[in-house]
């Protein structure tokens, strides 16, 4: 079956611009996660959705970052006024329930110039 998909696969933007990253989870998965992977910080948790609500947003690094999920399916991670330190690979994962195994998408590589 189809896995987690993310778009775009690569994004180059200028400092100060807003970007939107999209995640399509595996059909039927109620839990969805965003992580960020960068050279200096490794793989870091950003936000967790159960259905359309986000019980854990503790990993969002600043108020420039926001995420939403609609219809219990697709999620969008938005970064406003991008900075160079936002350059990283943004990974999305989904699982059947909160305690279940997470399956990851291929990621979006963001480069802020």
């Amino acid at each position: 079956g189809a896995g987690v998909s993310q778009s775009p696969s690569n994004k180059v933007t200028e400092k100060g611009k807003d970007v939107e990253l999209r995640c399509d989870p595996i059909s039927g998965h109620t839990a969805l996660y965003w992580y960020r992977q960068s050279l200096g910080q490794g793989l870091e948790f950003l936000i967790y959705f159960q259905g359309n609500s986000a019980p854990d947003k503790s990993g969002l690094p600043s108020d420039r970052f926001s995420a939403e999920r609609t219809g219990g399916s697709v999620s969008t991670l938005t970064i406003q006024r991008t900075q160079q330190e936002d350059s990283a690979v943004y990974l999305c994962a989904s699982s059947l329930e909160g305690q279940e195994t997470q399956y990851f998408g291929p990621g979006t590589r963001l480069l802020v110039l």
Binding site: G42, L43, L91, Q99, T101, Q102, F104, G107
Partner: protein, 116 residues
């Protein structure tokens, strides 16, 4: 907050050799996931260990969980070039109700190179 330390950070082996990667937690482990990542790709799920003493195998990869030592090990037997990649261990968080939920804390990864 929980921290996971992986060792070694990188490993270069000759094809056919056995190898072990360790993942040590600063706190009690309530389960442990192993993932593999190829350059430029997402994480591929390998195994999940939930109970102390648990051991799982898939093809030539075996993972064990030692709850007392707060440690897990991943062992590859007769390594092949296809085993090359970055191996990551991840541990779930504990929610307010004492049950684990999916937010994962990851180790820094172990880069494995297998020479033919």
């Amino acid at each position: 907050s929980q921290e996971l330390e992986q060792s070694p950070q990188s490993l270069i082996v000759q094809e056919g050799k056995n190898l072990t990667i360790n993942c040590t937690s600063s706190k009690t482990l309530y389960g442990l996931y192993w993932y593999k990542q190829k350059y430029g790709e997402g994480l591929i799920f390998l195994m999940m260990l939930q109970k102390g003493g648990e051991e799982k195998s898939h093809e030539k990869i075996t993972a064990k969980l030692d709850e007392k030592k707060q440690q897990s090990s991943l062992h590859i037997t007769a390594s092949q070039p296809s085993h090359a990649g970055i191996y990551l261990c991840g541990s779930p968080s504990i929610g307010a109700g004492g049950t684990s939920y999916g937010k994962l804390t990851f180790g820094q990864g172990t880069i494995l190179t297998v020479h033919p």
